[in-house]
């Protein structure tokens, strides 16, 4: 489908480039269809309404926050001597740290991409 669309656009370009008057007459509606089907090539994120990159980021931040909360609770229990094993506290804290760092690096990436787009010459 999309390959045909590219072929159609390619044929149209090839036809219009050498001469002002198209040598091969192609009906305008067919052109429009070809261009419309070109958008099939794009990633389909535009169809997922309301679930953008930022929403996903905010969702994952919620999970990270829950992790920070639970390891904070574990640290309090450790300090109060209520904890059974030290390694679970430490592993939980380490996991939370890594997840937080992952979220931070995702945030930095998204922000970089946004700034890159904002700097774009129009």
């Amino acid at each position: 489908m999309t390959v045909e669309a590219i072929a159609a656009v390619g044929a149209q370009l090839a036809a219009t480039a050498p001469a002002a008057v198209p040598a091969v007459p192609v009906a305008p509606p067919a052109d429009m269809n070809a261009i419309a089907s070109m958008t099939d090539l794009l990633p389909s994120h535009s169809t997922r309404a309301g679930e953008g990159v930022f929403d996903q980021l905010v969702n994952s931040l919620g999970q990270v926050d829950a992790g920070i909360e639970s390891s904070g609770r574990a640290a309090t229990e450790l300090a109060l001597g209520q904890t059974e094993n030290l390694h679970q506290v430490m592993i939980g804290a380490e996991r939370t740290r890594l997840q937080f760092e992952l979220a931070m690096s995702m945030r930095n990436r998204v922000l970089e991409a946004y700034q890159e787009i904002m700097r774009m010459q129009v």
């Binding site: 094993n85 390694h87 679970q88 592993i91 380490e94 996991r95 890594l98 997840q99 760092e101 992952l102 690096s105 930095n108 990436r109």
Partner: protein
């Protein structure tokens, strides 16, 4: 299971080694614990089973890494070891022949157990450490510029 799941596996391994350490320490600490009429302390042992096999039997064993079995301490059992009989007629727990039943805790076996526990815990720590440093280095992948 994912990279973060590997941390859980290491944690379960450390749980098991910790239970073994608790039991070994208890055996050593109770090596002089006596009791009347055969109620002396019996050396304890930890039975470790796979959480999946425990629930579903051999049929539940994994064929992918999606559901790897976690080791769990299934139970703590008393070892059937003959007590060491020591002649001590003045002891309150001595029988009519003056013999006192001391727990059959073998000091050499206990020391070997401690070494094995220590190495086992270290091995789990190492697995955790490697997973952690791989995760960290993967995260640093996005920072190079």
């Amino acid at each position: 299971m994912g990279m973060f799941g590997v941390l859980d596996i290491s944690s379960a391994g450390m749980d098991v080694q910790q239970a073994r350490l608790e039991v070994a320490a208890s055996n050593i600490a109770n090596s002089r614990t006596t009791g009347k009429d055969g109620a002396a302390y019996k050396p304890l042992a930890v039975v470790v089973r796979s959480a999946i096999a425990e629930a579903q039997g051999a049929a539940g064993m994994p064929t992918t890494t999606a559901n790897l079995p976690m080791p769990v301490v299934a139970e703590v059992v008393q070892q059937d070891v003959a007590p060491k009989l020591v002649y001590d007629p003045g002891h309150p727990d001595a029988d009519e022949k003056g013999m006192v039943a001391l727990p059959g805790v073998d000091p050499v076996t206990s020391m070997l157990d401690l070494i094995s526990i220590s190495r086992g815990y270290e091995a789990n720590l190492r697995a955790f450490d490697i997973t952690r440093s791989l995760l960290q280095r993967t995260l640093d992948l996005g920072r190079s510029r």
